[in-house]
């Protein structure tokens, strides 16, 4: 695999996002595989934010600790990232703001001056974009087309000014640094989709028939809510910003009881507040999808950073006992199918369904050729009012545990949802016999749930010396580590778990049978998945490779973990 890695850094509010977005759009349209991870601080202005863009010959799904090109919007970016540069490296910067140092080649561009020429400091973004384009060999005419399209919507002379600024930056680099140039990996023939995890989860919910979303904004989950809301009016979806997370889950449950497909999105602290509502969904058997986008806790923790700390929470949240689905997709693409599937499953089994994402998954952009929209088909599981037994019983005892569900408003029918122990018709009771039967009915659903798809994905060597196990977004870094180990002649394999509840114990046990050197890789301190695996399969894995500093896994971090466990010896040949 060949690749070029560009890191763009600066203060919040300096235009980093504008430049990165346009660059990513250009690259994906040109058919390049890209992966772009955002690292940002919990502040609106200032600080140090950066985005790393990998332009690779093959699909990649994780950040790297290194880069080839640094685009520095301020001195701090150089200070923080200079040691990550692979020499010969390039540093693009404003000629006034950054001092050259170290072994990299510094390319100073009069960004502010060109922006002033174009009429406003804001055009500095396009100057920088033009300069980057020149360095990585993009075509100026293509860039002009993109800028015209992007800024044309704003009206006035915005498009023309941005084109002028970008052209100045582009030509300046061409003229002043004629021998500087980086060759990107050869792109594919067709334009690719560029999507982040927030968008893919939101799109998946929509494809799964979402009709109602109520949520409370919380980083890093707000992107999912934003995406759905941006298309709500045109699609006839209702989006409601609730007064708090207790309200958002209970509102969604009311909508769901009335027959709407409903979901909510949140992050750990908000999920905590939803606990009782999720328990209500459990006993009242009301379908709901909860997209929980993880960030480090406890409490406020690190609001804009990444973690996999909410596994135990999702598996156990809500007092009392009830079945649930918990999914943890590995990539933005998988997140789309998972979210769509989650909507169907909530409806089919009348249980809460969790989709666990994290900051890395939702804020990172990836490219893909296309989504297979036929893979998960919308299916309505509401009962046919003409076919239910009369009088209608909301909690009719059935062999599958799933009772025919009708919405409110069916003529001559009374539909009753209840949070107590209840009779088959939903009436409150304390009858011993009914109590036992209702608990058993709810758990009979598990027999069907366990057969649903999205079980573990296996990757790599069939008879590995080293086996990695992960869940959620750690997939990208773990897969890359496995590739590097195999390339160095060390047989390695990976098992990635998307569905973690009900746990696919049989598949896990079959895969793990006879394997030695099995290491769980996950973003928390306690090794939550490793403990789940041991509990469900009796298989005791080796020392886990954990990360709990709010930063995403990289393949090198995993390799370093293996070296710590086994010593450097055989890993010397692994290039990462």
């Amino acid at each position: 695999m060949t690749e070029t890695v560009i890191t763009l850094g600066g203060k919040a509010g300096q235009g980093l996002i504008t430049v990165s977005d346009l660059l990513l759009r250009y690259l994906s349209r040109s058919g390049h595989f890209v992966f772009a991870a955002q690292d940002y601080m919990s502040r609106v202005r200032g600080g140090h934010n950066f985005m790393q863009i990998r332009i690779a010959s093959d699909p990649v799904f994780a950040p790297l600790p290194t880069s080839h090109i640094l685009v520095a919007f301020d001195q701090r970016t150089v200070d923080e990232h200079k040691d990550e540069l692979i020499i010969p490296a390039l540093v693009l910067h404003d000629i006034d703001d950054v001092k050259a140092s170290g072994n990299a080649t510094f390319i100073g561009i009069p960004i502010k001056m060109f922006a002033r020429e174009a009429g406003h400091p804001v055009y500095g973004n396009s100057v920088a974009l033009g300069a980057i384009a020149a360095v990585i060999g993009l075509r100026l005419d293509g860039l002009i087309t993109l800028l015209t399209e992007s800024f044309g919507k704003k009206g006035g002379d915005a498009a023309q000014k941005n084109v002028q600024a970008a052209t100045r930056g582009y030509n300046y680099v061409r003229d002043a640094f004629p021998f500087i140039g980086v060759t990107l990996p050869r792109p594919g023939e067709k334009p690719k989709m560029l999507i982040n995890g927030s968008q893919s989860i939101g799109l998946g919910l929509i494809a799964g028939g979402l009709q109602f979303i109520s949520a409370y904004p919380m980083s890093p989950s707000t992107g999912v809510f934003n995406y759905v809301t941006s298309h709500a009016a045109e699609l006839g979806i209702l989006s409601e910003q609730a007064e708090d997370e207790i309200a958002s889950v209970n509102i969604a449950l009311g909508a769901s009881a009335a027959g709407a497909r409903a979901a909510t999105s949140t992050s750990g602290g908000g999920l905590d507040l939803m606990a009782e509502g999720i328990s209500l969904a459990g006993v009242a058997e009301i379908p709901i999808v909860i997209a929980n986008i993880q960030r480090p806790g406890p409490a406020t923790g690190l609001p804009t950073r990444t973690a996999q700390e909410d596994l135990d929470l999702a598996l156990n949240i809500g007092h009392g006992e009830f079945p649930r689905f918990v999914f943890a997709p590995g990539t933005a693409e998988e997140a789309y199918y998972t979210a769509a599937h989650a909507m169907n499953l909530a409806d089919k089994y009348q249980v809460p369904v969790f989709v666990l994402g994290d900051q890395l998954l939702v804020d990172s952009y990836v490219t893909l050729d296309k989504l297979n929209l036929g893979k998960v088909k919308y299916k309505n599981h509401l009962a046919d009012a003409n076919k239910v037994k009369t009088p209608y019983k909301r909690y009719q005892l059935t062999p599958s545990g799933v009772s025919p569900r009708l919405p409110y408003g069916v003529p001559d029918t009374r539909v009753m949802f209840d949070s107590h122990l209840h009779e088959e018709d939903g009436h409150i009771t304390e009858n011993i016999e009914i109590c036992r039967k209702m608990v058993e009915k709810r758990f009979r659903k598990l027999a069907g749930m366990i057969k649903e798809p999205l079980g573990p994905t296996l990757y790599g060597d069939k008879k590995p010396q080293i086996t990695l196990v992960c869940w959620g977004s750690t997939y990208g870094a773990a897969r890359e580590a496995v590739d590097a180990l195999n390339a160095a002649g060390i047989g390695a394999a990976l098992a990635h778990f998307n569905r973690v509840s009900p746990f696919p114990a049989k598949e896990a046990a079959t895969f793990l049978k006879g394997k030695k050197a099995v290491h769980v890789v996950e973003g928390n301190y306690q090794g939550q998945f490793a403990r789940l695996l041991a509990r469900e399969t009796g298989f005791k894995t080796g020392e886990p490779i954990l990360r709990y500093d709010g930063r995403p896994f990289t393949a090198r971090y995993i390799l370093d973990g293996l070296k710590r466990i086994y010593g450097n010896g055989k890993f010397r040949r692994v290039s990462l």
């Binding site: 799109l203 699609l235 207790i246 309200a247 209970n250 009311g254 009335a258 408003g409 539909v415 209840d418």
Partner: protein, 284 residues
Amino acid sequence: MENSGGFHYEGEKAWCAGCGDFGILAALEKALLKSGKRPDEVLVVSGIGQAAKMPHYIKTNGFNGLHGRALPPAFGAKAANHKLTVIVASGDGDMYGEGGNHFIHNIRRNIEITAIAHNNQIYGLTKGQASPTSERGMKTKLQPEGVILTPFNPIAVAIALDAPFVARSFSQEVELTAELILEAMSVPGFAFIDVLQPCVSFNKLNTYEWYQKRSYKLGPDHDPADKAKALEKAFEWGERIPLGVIYKNPRPGYVANTIGLDSEPLINKTTALEDVKRLTEKFY
């Protein structure tokens, strides 16, 4: 079929003999019968508490959720299917204590529902602790030296938030309560009725006699459209307690103000695969 026999539920009701809840239930049944609604067109939503047993004791659709959380699912259900007539039965603990935040924000939403608070100024289900509306000085097991908190004034709060319909009744006044519920059901927004109600088991202060002595019906001289006068009435408490419609300010509610909810209920709208395909094209 199930609609025959109207709204009356014959089964046992787990309320104490003489409980004010019986009067409110009778008034709700009367109002529903008079409204001409079919039981399947009506949804009664509640949280937890004595009042919250209501959906079990009336033959309509029901949602008996969590303590303090009657209003959120009521809003969700109404937004999902605005053809439903949604009535919330809640208590002073449920709506003003545990669910206070939802009380504020659903008035702001102005969702087209009728919210009835059974206000007995005490916690009944948990056996006699102070509620947000308990009088200062009332002694309970948990306030042995007497309540020192200022009572919550739901009428004043609702008027301050400009709820389109704010009324007060007394559970013994079944006719008045039924009239108010019926009027509330036709309000195109959040219609709120605080119903004073004796708790015969735990509230030895605010008894039938206590309410009878003080409450009086507002006459035609009170203009509910006058916000300042309405607020004045909201603060009338102690020797005299006004009953009836205290404040009225009809204006379009949440459903009317939400684009897309004008005609067909949300539950009948589905996203076609073609629409999803169109969305994916924006990512290229």
